[in-house]
C-alpha cells in the first residue's frame, strides 16, 4: 500500500544507505547505528571494515539524520569524533561535500548515477575502496546503486 503513495511525500525523510555488497543484514539496530556513526564500531559482522561517510556538520540532511535517526545533535557527534581523533583512540568519519557525492561514494564503482561534485578523477580513486560503506540520504536521492537499511 505504501508503494502507491507519491514519492514526494517521503522526499524529506532521511534513510540509512549502505554499499550493496556491505553485509548490513535486513535491518540495523539503533545502538549499532550509533556505535557506527560514533566511530566506535569498526567492522561489519563478517570483519569487513566499515567506511562511514557523513555530510558537513551544518548540512540540513546531516542535522536531520542526527536528530531524527541518531537522536543527538551534530555537535555531540563532532565532539565524540574529536575526542577519539585527538587521543589516538579512533578516527573521524569521511566527510563528503554533497549528497550527490555521498551517493556516488556509497554506490562504489558500479554507481552509474555518480554525479560527482568536484574532481571526478580524485573521486574515482577514492570510490575504488568503498566496500563496506555506510551513509545516509533523503529518500528522493535513492536509486538502485545503494541499499536502504531500515533502523529498528
Amino acid at each position: 500500500m505504501l508503494c502507491g503513495w507519491p514519492a514526494r511525500a517521503y522526499s524529506d525523510e532521511v534513510v540509512v544507505v549502505v554499499n550493496p555488497a556491505a553485509p548490513a543484514g535486513e535491518a540495523i539496530a539503533r545502538n549499532t547505528l550509533s556505535a557506527i556513526f560514533g566511530m566506535r564500531l569498526r567492522a561489519w559482522e563478517d570483519g569487513t571494515p566499515i567506511r562511514v561517510y557523513v555530510l558537513p556538520d551544518n548540512h540540513a540532511v546531516h542535522v536531520m539524520f542526527c536528530k531524527q535517526i541518531l537522536g543527538a545533535f551534530p555537535h555531540q557527534y563532532r565532539t565524540a569524533w574529536d575526542r577519539l581523533v585527538y587521543s589516538g583512540t579512533g578516527q573521524a568519519p569521511l566527510e563528503v561535500a554533497s549528497e550527490q557525492e555521498m551517493r556516488a561514494r556509497v554506490a562504489g564503482i558500479r554507481g552509474e548515477a555518480a554525479v560527482v561534485v568536484g574532481s571526478e578523477e580524485e573521486m574515482r580513486a577514492k570510490v575504488a575502496g568503498t566496500a563496506g560503506a555506510i551513509g545516509y540520504l533523503t529518500r528522493k536521492m535513492i536509486d538502485e546503486s545503494v541499499t536502504v537499511v531500515p533502523v529498528e
Binding site: R42, E45, T79, D82, T89, G129
Partner: protein
Amino acid sequence: MKVLPWCRSSRSVRTPQSLPWWPALILWPGLCGPALALEIFEGFQMHGFLSQGYFLTSNHNNLFGESTRGGSLGFTEIGVNASWVPRPDVQLAIQGLSRRAGGAAEGEPELDFALLDYAAVETADRRLGVRVGRVRLPFGLYNDTRDVAFTRPSILLPQSIYFDRVRELAISGDGILFYGEERGSWGNFTLEFLGPYFQRIGSENSELSLFNSELPGDLESRVSWGA
C-alpha cells in the same frame, strides 16, 4: 576534596573594603578549529589543530592577576596527529604537540602520544582491547584531549584537577592500557586499567612542583599502576 584555588581566594576577598570577586573578567577571543583533516590513503588520516589565545584580564582577578600592557598573546597550542587502521582491530596513532603558555611552557615540540591499539574482542555492543606505547592517561573527564580547545568546555581547565604545572605527569605515560567498552541503549560504559607504565618526569616543572625548588640529581620513574 580539594577546593578550587579561585573559590578559596574569592571567599577571602569578600571583605567590606574590597570589591567582590566577580568583576574579574577574562577575555579570550581565541582562534581555534580543526586546521586540517585529511585521509591520505584508505585507513590513514591526519588531523591538526591550532589555538591562539589573547588574554585580557581586569583588576580584582585572583587567578591570573591584572593584565599589563594591553593583554597577552602568550598562549598557543599546536598539534598534528596521524592515525592508521590497517585492519579494523588495529590502530596506530601518533601526535606531536607544541604548547606555549606563559612561563610554564615555551613551545618545544613533544611527543604527545604514540600507540598501538589492538581490539581482541569486538562485537556490535562490546569492545575489549589493549593500547601499548605512550598512551593518554584516563584521568578526569578531559585529560584525553585537554590541549584541544574545541574539546574542552572552558578556556582553561580547572587547575585543581588538570594542574598544568605538572602536566607531563598526568597527560600521558609509557606503558600498557587495557580497556573494555560496553555499548547499551543507555549509553557507553568504559573501564580502563592502566599498567604497568612509567610516568614522564623529565622537565624541571615536575621537580619544581614536587620540591618547590631545583635540587641536584635526577628524578627517576618507577613502575606505576592505575584504573
